[in-house]
Symmetry: C2
Subunit: 113 residues, 2 copies
DNA sequence: CGGAATCCCATTTGATACTG
DNA sequence: CAGTATCAAATGGGATTCCG
């Protein structure tokens, strides 16, 4: 069963995971919680993400109605990504998820070299 | 970069995804929100999950301090899984995630065959 | 600048059968 | 019952190059 098939499951949680159940998508949404951002900005803001994953994730999130892609016909080209209402509804949830980690996170012991 | 490497990132959201950023783990946690459950119960309650994925997910969630595995020395064997405090702290978040989907979910058009 | 295209590897997920 | 073992397949992910 592929992930996107989850979207039509009878369980709401499974449907949510059909949209969000990857490593990077929640991070992208979290990054857009308080700003629009251009492709290059997202690439810079999100550590370690590759352009390919960023591209495909943005496309899928757009298809799922989470983000909006706005293309300006300029030179050099400019594209801005922002959350839709449906996406904005996820902001508090994403923030709680980050906060949850901070509350239970234990620093890894520093390596002595 | 593998998912588990996320756990030591500087970004709290990335660290959360290092623990939860898969299809099935949030669903497992959600299923345990109001009950303990045995392995077989989880397998039955969670539609379409395979035993292998269930096994490995439970093991990792235990390592990450999200769930507790209690093994009873009986015959036939009995094992119960329950959320830890750290895991319980995720319950409201998981519930909001399910609720989010219900609010924005549109029934797929029925197929006419 | 914002991708798309290509190539390739790693990880995740899955089906099935078997075991203490 | 609660897993393992095994094998296979899908998906995710990354590096690099190219283009309008």
């Amino acid at each position: 069963m592929k992930r996107t098939d989850f979207k039509n499951c009878s369980c709401a949680m499974q449907r949510s995971m059909g949209i969000l159940g990857t490593r990077w998508k929640p991070i992208i949404i979290y990054t857009l919680r308080d700003r629009k951002a251009r492709f290059g900005q997202l690439d810079a803001l999100i550590e370690n993400i590759s352009r390919k994953v960023l591209t495909s994730s943005l496309k899928e999130l757009e298809e799922d109605g989470i983000i909006l892609r706005e293309e300006f016909k300029e030179l050099p080209p400019r594209v801005e990504y922002a959350l839709t209402e449906k996406g904005k509804a996820l902001i508090p949830i994403m923030c709680q998820l980050a906060k949850w980690n901070e509350e239970y996170y234990e620093e890894p012991a520093p390596l002595i070299l």
